[in-house]
Symmetry: D3
Subunit: 136 residues, 6 copies
């Protein structure tokens, strides 16, 4: 009985697309208005999907209250109402594109969730732009 259980969360953050080793001109040329040095921001929506076998005793794949708590600790507390470039360790040297934010979130959750479960992270930067990462 292999099932995928999903939990939705969200956080509001500022960021800019930016590589420190590029000039401001090159950053603007490649990333356009997304590289505004004074930052812009988003309401990020996040779906974390966990796949594995249903526990026959509880009928749960995973207690979603537990998954919710992992997301609070690994994503909402460190990311919400923050400047991703300047206040989240991983983005000191990593460009906070939606792709990279999803990979960082996946890596953080991978350390909290048993290896018996696969993890998939969907990150909406806007309702029209989103990415999906599953650690492949």
């Amino acid at each position: 009985m292999r099932i995928k259980a999903c939990r939705k969360a969200h956080f509001n953050a500022a960021h800019r697309l930016y590589r420190k080793d590029w000039s401001d001109e090159k950053n603007t040329q490649i990333f356009g208005k997304c590289s505004n040095p004074k930052f812009h921001g988003h309401n990020y929506d996040l779906v974390v999907a966990v796949t594995g076998d249903v526990d026959p005793e509880t009928g749960f794949l995973i207690d979603l209250k537990v998954l919710k708590q992992y997301i609070v600790e690994e994503v909402e507390e460190p990311f919400d109402h923050k400047n991703l470039n300047e206040e989240v360790e991983e983005f000191e040297t990593l460009n906070p594109t939606a792709e990279n934010i999803a990979i960082v979130i996946w890596n953080r959750l991978r350390q909290r969730i048993t290896d018996r479960f696969d993890i998939e992270v969907t990150l909406y930067e806007t309702p029209r732009n989103f990415v999906i990462y599953s650690g492949e």
Copy 2:
């Protein structure tokens, strides 16, 4: 021309998370407020996805009016405005978690839809909690 065709439906039902072979104390300890003996309820949203080869004559995978009718007969009529624990046969002995409800729906639809098609059931218990089952 392998395609996935999807139909969304919904039903409103009462339930509680509960195992008859556990004491009320143990049910509450494991399932928290979801085990309230007087029940609570949800507007369940359901997406049924059917995957197979497009019929070159009609350009349909499956006539969605037919799929809609299967969902009415197998899910909406038996589940809508019902108490899942007390009025749906499968949950007399099975805990109606989102995972188990999705599996029950999948099993009911599997008997109606040709084996040439794969089936995937996505069940939203709330907009933030949902599960996906495809019979694996």
Copy 3:
């Protein structure tokens, strides 16, 4: 500078449409499957709108964190994961239609929010059925 500030919340509850002073037959005749004696349930979505003058010092009408807390105390804690008919005092003798639930919520919040502000309650029983009450 008169403005309306709104906060969305939600709760999941069981209910049935039912008048104690009517027979089961009459309840079923008037309320149909919504009167199922074993209950059904909903994910209720709630929007509370507060209207008044913006505070020139803070730029807030009302601190939405405060409004959120009133909603938690007056609505989410007493209503969420509950059976409205059997576990919420006001519905012991009042039929929990969407209309009446909205009026009960409005009355509860009216006691917490300053009279300088008007209050409007929108209650979604389903995404297709909702009511709006403003104390008129």
Copy 4:
């Protein structure tokens, strides 16, 4: 034939709740994490409603393509992918709460739209927090 015609738009921006004439301590005490000095951000959703008499010749209240263009010029171009506190003139001395942003947008649009029409601005800071201003 008095009608309200509405157009939805959006913009992504960074901001912090902040009064220059208050200390950082007081800003944090009143505005909490919304006053983070390194900024955070939102996907703001905007609905502009214009009310007046339908033009019997065209059957339009207002050509929504024209209203869309006003919103592009007065809101999306100056606000999108910007830091509201540092890059939008009105917020140099005004705290960019949702309330104040809605009032600023209303004032900008009021100068573009004929006085025969009333204007109402709904601004969603998040899907759960929003404000409505109509110039009263």
Copy 5:
């Protein structure tokens, strides 16, 4: 106890913006691609709001099943999967703008719903363009 009760519905239809007494050139000049002579179409979403006093006996303003049925008979059956210009009587001589469609729907429902109730019609032509008419 004055309340507003709302019911959402939808229909899919083809239309073009067009006045018979104008040349094709003038229609295109005023209405742009919306006047394409071969038609285009929309999934129209409709919210019908009815305002009045709650019935103290039932706790309903209006039985929403009854309102749903009025909408089926007056809107969905005559409009759904139809060409509004060519198959709906009112639009033989009236340009089917969102404004005019809302007014036609309001007039149809006004004949079915008791004068003790006010009616308001919200019609979404797209998620970004919508109009509201209340018979004023």
Copy 6:
């Protein structure tokens, strides 16, 4: 670092389900009201997902502004505010079911996007009916 990046778009179009080599009677018998000879229409929502390896230099899978432009050129300009049966070349001889529209869109985009990336097209004909095609 294999990731899926998604972009949402939409277009409004008229269509009818129809095979030229069948009689009107047979078309109506198989396709029902969807075969109305005077057409009906939809607001189609489209999600294009592109899967491949993240570019370590930019942190992008693909610049979504570029993907957006491909969708404008290959889908929105040729399909929006058009009659699919009469104004889109591929449907001169192909029945414009949701399945076939998704396949046509996939084929158009396949010619614009590098073979290093997989493509998946999700097409919503209505919020309740949608199909997914990935070229298998």
